[in-house]
Each structure stands twice: as structure tokens, then as C-alpha cells.
């Protein structure tokens, strides 16, 4: 277990270094940073001085090393456009994205797993078939369309829910939260549903097919033959055995919830990292793009580590085997 984790840690470092390299090459190849920083009327001499001051004349490896070290300590330099530290900007925006992703994940799991179990147990039922057909919509409709439809229905026609922004937020230290105010919670509903819908259907279909598989196994049949009631057979024995693949997919999906909240954030003008990233692309604000890239990679690496550890918790066969 320890050696396994150590190996995983080494792999993670390799992954992060690779992503750092890609992020760093953006500075080199996507436009000239000096041009992006200074105005039209800056003289060539001033430009050269700035170039020297920023270390842009140093050899490639030195620059990369400097970038990686800075990145490791959370320093990504200054935004070209806003001239404030990127880390500050990201940290300011992070709570919005994380809260949105968190609520979406909860929605996806809270509805996805029970619906998956239900449709597996009542495979031939009318309601199950309805749910399965509807889930196709969830998988196939693009996120922005769902978002716009929800805005149209609940925001414009019914006027129940706000259509953009985070509502009122409360500051707790450096963290801003929308969980503590009514308007904050109301604002969360539409974007989180939009973001969750795809994951929900995915988890539901996954749980369903895994459940169907497990329900056919001998140990489920043997559990029934011992007279165990359905409740125990389904939830104590069958559902737990579906968890390993579900954890894998859920972990990866949680990563993409954070990473691909971009579209949802754009539709709902949600002041999160995704929206910031989209704006940074428009402005060719490379430090922000690089930092975002690194951060998302970091999230994925961390989530994958947690998933691997969860395997050990769920499946005793992976733990070091003793006995005969």
C-alpha cells in the first residue's frame, strides 16, 4: 500500500511536470508577452529593459525551471490585463466554482445512484423505461442549451429563480460562500442542475448496468437462497459491489465538473474560474491560462489519488492479503 502510494506520487509529479511544460510553452509560442503588457507608445529601449527584467532573455531551461518553482509555490506572476497577481485572482474566483461543482456533484450522486438502482431492480417497469428514455435527453442535449432552456422557463416565464450571478455572498475569512443567503442558494439552483444533468445520467446508467451485472452473480443468488430479504440483498450485498467502477467514474467526473464548468459559468455569468478563463483567452492573458491549466491538472491528480485510496477502503481484496 505504502509503496503503491509512493509510486502514485511519483507518477503525479511526472504528470504535473508535463502539464507545467505545456503551460510554460504557451508563454513562448502564443504571442509575445511584452507586446501584451505594454502600450503602443512604449519605446524599443523600454521594451528591451522590461524583457531583461522579466528574465525573458535567459535560456529556455532556466526560464522553465523558474516557472516551475514559482508555480510550485503558487506564484504564477501577474495578469497581463489586470496587473494583479494571478494567484490572487484565482483564489478569489475559486470558491464560486468549487461551490457550484460541489452542489452539482451532490445532485448527480443523490439522484444518479438511487435512480440507477431503481431502474436496475424494476427493469421492465413503465417508470424505469420512462427514466431511461429521459436520460437519453440528459446525455445528448448540450449543456448550454439545457442552461438556456432552464433560464427561459424558471427565470423568464415563471420568474422564480435568478438567471445570472451568485446572488449575495458571505465572506468567511478568504472564502466567499453563497450557501448562507437565500439569494445565494437560489442562484445556485439553475447552474448546478445544468452542470449536474449530464453527470447524473451518466452515473445513473453506470449504476444500472453494474447493478444488473452484480444481480446475476452467484453470491446474490446464494444470498437469496439463504432467505435474506430483498432490501439486504439489493443494498447490503449488490450495491456495495457496484461501487468500485462507480467511484472511478465519479472521481473523474468530479474533476471534469470543475474543469468544464466553463460553459455553465458562461451561460449563467457565474463569477468562477471558468468564466475568468474564457475571458483570459479572449484577452490572450497567458499567465491566467497557464495557472488555470496547472490548477485543473492538480485537481485531477488529487482526485485520482483519493479514488485510488478509496479502492482500498471499499475492496478488501486489494489490501495486503494475509491468511492462506
Amino acid at each position: 500500500m505504502v509503496s503503491f502510494l509512493f509510486k502514485r506520487l511519483l507518477q503525479s509529479i511526472v504528470v504535473m511536470a508535463t502539464v507545467a511544460f505545456i503551460a510554460f510553452s504557451m508563454f513562448k509560442f502564443v504571442g509575445d508577452p511584452i507586446n501584451n503588457m505594454v502600450g503602443q507608445d512604449t519605446s524599443q529601449q523600454e521594451r528591451d529593459e522590461l524583457r531583461e527584467k522579466l528574465g525573458l532573455n535567459d535560456p529556455f531551461l532556466v526560464q522553465f525551471g523558474r516557472f516551475s518553482l514559482n508555480a510550485a509555490t503558487g506564484n504564477f506572476g501577474y495578469s497581463y490585463k489586470f496587473q494583479v497577481p494571478v494567484s490572487e485572482m484565482i483564489f478569489e474566483r475559486m470558491p464560486a466554482t468549487l461551490e457550484l461543482a460541489f452542489v452539482s456533484a451532490i445532485i448527480a450522486l443523490a439522484f444518479g445512484i438511487p435512480l440507477g438502482v431503481y431502474t436496475a431492480l424494476r427493469r421492465e417497469g413503465f417508470i424505469s423505461k420512462m427514466i431511461m428514455s429521459l436520460s437519453l435527453v440528459g446525455v445528448s442535449l448540450p449543456t448550454f442549451l439545457i442552461g438556456i432552456l432552464l433560464i427561459l422557463l424558471f427565470g423568464v416565464v415563471l420568474r422564480w429563480l435568478p438567471t445570472f450571478g451568485r446572488g449575495e455572498v458571505v465572506e468567511i475569512g478568504a472564502w466567499t460562500t453563497g450557501f448562507l443567503t437565500t439569494s445565494g442558494l437560489k442562484s445556485l439552483i439553475l447552474p448546478s442542475i445544468t452542470l449536474a444533468l449530464f453527470q447524473l445520467t451518466l452515473i445513473m446508467r453506470l449504476v444500472r448496468s453494474e447493478m444488473l451485472e452484480v444481480l446475476r452473480t452467484d453470491f446474490v443468488k446464494f444470498a437469496r437462497a439463504r432467505g435474506l430479504p430483498n432490501r439486504s440483498v439489493h443494498f447490503k450485498h449488490a450495491l456495495k459491489n457496484t461501487l468500485v467502477p462507480v467511484i472511478t467514474i465519479t472521481g473523474l467526473q468530479l474533476g471534469s465538473l470543475i474543469a468544464f464548468a466553463i460553459i455553465t459559468e458562461s451561460v449563467f455569468q457565474w463569477p468562477g474560474m471558468g468564466l475568468m478563463f474564457v475571458q483570459a483567452i479572449a484577452d490572450v492573458d497567458i499567465p491566467i491560462m497557464a495557472a488555470y491549466l496547472m490548477l485543473i491538472a492538480f485537481f485531477f491528480v488529487i482526485i485520482n489519488m483519493i479514488v485510488d485510496i478509496l479502492y482500498y477502503a471499499v475492496d478488501p481484496r486489494l489490501r495486503a492479503s494475509d491468511g492462506s
Binding site: 453470491f219 437462497a225 432467505g227
Partner: protein, 575 residues
């Protein structure tokens, strides 16, 4: 009053293509302390009866007629809830595969205590005590500690003991055991059967044992019911059925069981089942395609010889190479296989016999040692091209006919693949005619070529595997348990086919099996393996009549005794 009384039971499976009657009017009774065997081949409906008794028929199957009584109380018309209360409480069930019968994510304790609590409501402490006591009764050493373990920490035999303990949780009146020892080694099988028999007598439980194995029947049952395609063809005391069967099906079924005592030239066929329709074409090797281009390098002495073969698997991964723990599966094995000889390897599961086969044909790379094919050491060959030359000369037939054929390829392509790969035919038309011919020779017929593997039964698929193996015109065939997944009658056909082909083509064969009677019928010489080592190599007849190694003697002693089986009047038909 009978403990279990099945009266005129009819079970049908409605399907789109009409209704299949799986069980047709079967009546059986079981008394307390009695073991009733239900024997038959796959598709006989024997498992269906067991499932019907505990109300777990798989959809869309249903009981369409007859009654089932437990101690005089009718149980086949109970509600779902009513029959659930009987399952486990009054009727215990034991399934075939102990490796998959237990929930892998729960400890033995959790599974035992849950079942005991459910039926007996003893309270946590008493339930735990009872669970430990049950484990002790089924012969699990150190039950106080072992109860904390997960299923994967037990061996197959130990797991089956746990399964039996689970079936005994609530002191049921009847136990239904569906192929309880089929997945186990002979030595473990003997122990488990002994345990079941003892429990049955001590607790005066009625037991219904469902099996295809005449050895199990001979060992444990008091009475036997023989089933064939849903019909009960014969019923009587074990001695009567095995020693003096009346029904022709029973006779032919018994005759197909490979005999441990005498070597016959051919296996007697169960002619009651298979009419002579699939008699294969015989071939004249001098003119046939399979006989051509057999211009392999002439070999002096043994065709295949292995020297000090060692195989290690990583048992425990570690970051540093020197910290890795290895499991030695094959530990310094040497033997020769002469040209035209059938060499047998016999041993229990885990003895390393399949690993040896895989090393010989290059699927595994040995840790050390040499595999000589003729004069060439195959382990020294580096180039793929050179290796292909030898790969063509040796082919392998695997145990499981269901997973060893690509389900997305038609039989034509499956058999043609090696011919095309080794460029053994000049045109596509020639490839196809060769394939069709091969299919006829293995007794499948030409029309098989256009179908997919899933359309065939286990025995037919094994014939496809054989055709595929022959397609490279090999001179050395490795058969790894080629019939252990098949019914006895099918086994007899496949083994006869292999024997015929071996004689016609002068093939050299390595034949691997755990089944001693089969080895006796098939092999010229035998090596006995145990825990990665060869215990003994000798001529087959000498091994069976006069074994030298103690382990071989033990194995022979554990062979199910079929002395009671009647062979009179059958040898003539079979020989």
C-alpha cells in the same frame, strides 16, 4: 410422511419460439438423513428442480404443474414472502462455485451473523458464538480468528466449507446441493463429500445432491434419480442404478465415464444421446492437405524436452526489485516427449501443469531452464520470424471453449486465421476449401463455417478449437484440460476425436488433466506434478498399477471409486 416430496413437477420456460418444458412430470422424495442424488447431463433439468424447490426459478421459468411438499406442507404455491421465510430457514442451498458464492466485500462473520440473526434472532453475542461453532463443525481450523477474514483469504475448499456453514445457519430440514464439488480438486472433493455426508447423518437432514458426476453419486448418495432432457428416466438405490441399470440412457451414461481400472482403445460413446450422425470423415494422410508440407526438420530422439524449467510469478510487488516476493509456480522440471507419443501431465489445481504448457509454447517466458524442440532451444530464439516457424509446428487447445474463441468472428475466419497468418495456402479459395474440410474432419460439417461461436454447444466449440489447432498442420499439440468443461458423453466424443487425429496424423501430444481416468485412457506416459515439482514420471499402465511416489498413491486412492459401476455388456459396445 416424506420430508421433501416433489410430485409430478412440471416446469416450463416460455419464450418467443414457443414454450420449452425443462422438467416433465418429475416425482421425487427425500427422507430425513437420506442423500438423494439427481444425476444427468447439462440441459437435463436437474438444477431447475433444485431452484424450483426454493422458489428461485429464473425468469421467465414457472412451475406449470405438480406440487412440492415440505413435511406435508405445500410450498410451491406460497407467496414470495412465504417462500423467502422457508429459504435458509428450512431449506438450505449450496451452489457449485465456492469462489463466487460469497460476497467478496464482507467478512465471513458479517455474512454468517446476518443470516443467523435473520432466522434465529439470537442477539449479536449468541449469533457470533453460533457462527464460530458452525465454522468449527464444518472443519475450519482456528475459527475465532478465521471468521474475521474475507472470502478471498480462503482457499476454494475452505470457501465451500464456509458456504456449507452458511447453508446450515438455521438448522434447515433439507439441504439442496447443486454440483457442490465440481469446482474442487479430488482430494478436497473427498473431504467435502465426507463432511456433507456426516452432517446429513448427524443432524438427520434430508439432502438432495444435483450433479453430473458419477463419482460423486457413488461416493455419497443413498438413492439416485437419473434425468434426461427433463424426464426422470430411472430411480432406485445407488447400488442398483450404478450396478444394474435398467434404462438404456443410464447404461450409456455410465459407460461413458472414463474407466480408472482398464485402458480401452476408444471411449464408449453415449449412443443413446448422439446418434451416429456426426461420424467424422476419415482421412488418408498421404494425399490429404494435412499430410502435405510436413517436411519439418527430422528430429532424432525426443521431439520436445524441457530441462530444469523454472517459472516465478511476482506475488508481492515492491518498489525495489530485490524486495519483490516471488511465487515459484514451476520449480525445476525436466521431461522428454518422444515423437508420436501422448505425454500426460496430471496434478491438482495450482500444481503448475498449465504453466508448463504455457512455457513450452512460449506464452510465458521461463525464469530459467530450456525448452528444446528437436535440437533447438526455444527460449534462446530472439527473432519473431524464427519463432513463427516453431509456433506453426505446435498448437494449443484450451480448457474453456467459451472464452477461447473470438465471439465476433465467424468459424470460417477463426479456423482460417492461422492458415492465412502462416501463409499455408496460395489463394483464398484454397484457404476456404481447407477450412471446410477441416470442419468435416472434426465432425462439425461444412455449414458450421458461416456461423458464430455462440451458436454452438460447449462440445462443438471444442471441436472448432481443435480444427483451429490443426489448421497450421502442427506436429505437436498441447491440450490443456480439453474436456473438463464438458459433459461425459461429449467428453468421450472429443477424446475419441483427439485419439483418432493423433493416430492418423502421427501427432505428438502433451495432454494436461486433473482427471486420472482420462489420463489413463489417453496417455502413453504420465508425469505427476505437485506444487511445481514432478513427483514421478512413468509409463501410464505402470503408474496406475504400481505407483512409486507416495503422492501418486494418495491421488490414486482418492479417485472416486466406481467399483459398483456396471461395465458388463457395455465393453462390447464401447470397445
Amino acid at each position: 410422511m416424506d420430508l421433501l416430496n416433489i410430485n409430478g413437477l412440471e416446469i416450463e420456460f416460455p419464450s418467443r419460439h414457443g414454450t420449452v418444458k425443462a422438467v416433465k412430470g418429475v416425482s421425487l422424495t427425500v427422507q430425513p438423513g437420506e442423500v438423494l442424488g439427481v444425476v444427468g447431463e447439462s440441459g437435463a433439468g436437474k438444477s431447475t428442480i433444485g431452484n424450483a424447490v426454493i422458489g428461485l426459478l429464473e425468469a421467465p421459468g414457472r412451475v406449470s404443474g405438480g406440487e412440492i411438499f415440505l413435511n406435508g406442507e405445500q410450498i410451491n404455491n406460497l407467496s414470495d414472502e412465504g417462500i423467502r421465510k422457508i429459504r435458509g430457514r428450512r431449506i438450505g442451498m449450496i451452489f457449485q462455485d465456492p469462489l463466487t458464492s460469497l460476497d467478496p466485500l464482507q467478512t465471513i462473520e458479517q455474512q454468517l451473523v446476518e443470516t443467523i440473526e435473520l432466522h434465529l434472532k439470537l442477539g449479536a453475542a449468541k449469533s457470533f458464538e453460533r457462527a464460530v461453532d458452525l465454522l468449527r463443525q464444518v472443519g475450519i481450523p482456528d475459527p475465532e480468528n478465521r471468521i474475521k477474514h474475507y472470502p478471498h483469504q480462503f482457499s476454494g475448499g475452505m470457501r465451500q466449507r464456509v458456504v456449507i456453514a452458511l447453508a446450515l445457519c438455521a438448522e434447515p430440514e433439507v439441504i439442496i446441493a447443486d454440483e457442490p464439488t465440481t469446482a474442487l480438486d479430488v482430494s478436497i472433493q473427498a473431504q467435502i463429500l465426507e463432511l456433507m455426508r456426516r452432517l446429513c447423518k448427524d443432524k438427520q437432514v434430508g439432502m438432495l445432491i444435483i450433479t453430473h458426476d458419477m463419482g460423486v453419486i457413488a461416493e455419497i448418495t443413498d438413492r439416485v434419480a437419473v434425468m434426461y432432457r427433463g424426464d426422470l428416466v430411472e430411480e432406485g438405490t445407488t447400488a442398483k442404478i450404478l450396478g444394474d441399470p435398467d434404462h438404456p440412457y443410464t447404461k450409456s451414461l455410465i459407460s461413458a465415464v472414463p474407466r480408472p481400472d482398464v485402458r480401452l482403445h476408444r471411449f464408449p460413446m453415449v449412443d443413446y444421446i448422439e446418434k451416429e450422425e456426426d461420424r467424422k470423415k476419415t482421412m488418408d494422410i498421404s494425399t490429404h492437405w494435412l499430410g502435405q508440407a510436413r517436411d519439418f526438420d527430422a528430429v532424432e530422439g525426443p521431439l520436445v524436452s524441457v530441462e530444469n524449467l523454472v517459472m516465478k510469478f511476482v506475488a508481492k510487488e515492491a518498489l525495489l526489485k530485490r524486495n519483490r516476493k516471488f511465487f515459484t509456480a514451476v520449480d525445476g522440471i525436466s521431461f522428454d516427449i518422444k515423437q508420436g507419443e501422448v505425454f500426460g501431465l496430471v496434478g491438482e489445481s495450482g500444481s503448475g501443469k498449465s504453466t508448463v504448457a504455457r512455457m513450452i509454447c512460449g506464452l510465458y517466458t521461463p525464469a530459467s531452464g530450456a525448452v528444446n524442440f528437436g535440437d533447438t532451444d526455444l527460449t534462446k530464439i530472439k527473432s519473431e520470424k524464427e519463432m513463427d516457424y516453431y509456433r506453426r509446428q505446435m498448437q494449443m487447445i484450451f480448457q474453456d471453449p467459451f472464452s477461447s474463441l473470438n465471439g465476433r468472428m465467424k468459424v470460417m475466419d477463426i479456423v482460417a486465421e492461422p492458415i492465412r497468418f502462416h501463409k499455408l495456402a496460395s489463394s483464398n479459395a484454397e484457404v476456404e476449401s481447407i477450412v471446410l474440410d477441416l470442419l468435416e474432419h472434426v465432425g462439425l460439417g461444412r455449414q458450421a463455417a458461416l456461423r458464430f461461436p455462440h451458436e454452438f454447444s460447449g462440445g462443438q466449440r471444442q471441436r472448432i478449437s481443435i480444427a483451429r489447432a490443426l489448421a497450421t498442420r502442427p506436429r505437436f499439440l498441447i491440450c490443456d484440460e480439453p474436456t473438463s468443461a464438458l459433459d461425459v458423453s461429449i467428453q468421450a466424443q472429443i477424446l475419441n476425436l483427439l485419439k483418432d487425429l493423433q493416430e492418423e496424423l502421427g501427432l505428438t501430444m502433451l495432454f494436461i488433466s486433473h482427471d486420472l481416468p482420462v489420463i489413463r485412457q489417453m496417455c502413453d506416459r504420465v508425469g505427476v506434478m505437485r506444487a511445481g515439482k514432478l513427483e514421478e514420471v512413468s509409463e501410464t499402465e505402470a503408474l496406475f498399477t504400481n505407483p512409486t511416489a507416495t503422492y501418486t498413491q494418495e491421488l490414486l486412492a482418492l479417485m472416486p471409486r466406481l467399483d459398483t459401476l456396471s461395465h458388463e455388456g457395455l465393453e462390447v459396445e464401447g470397445a
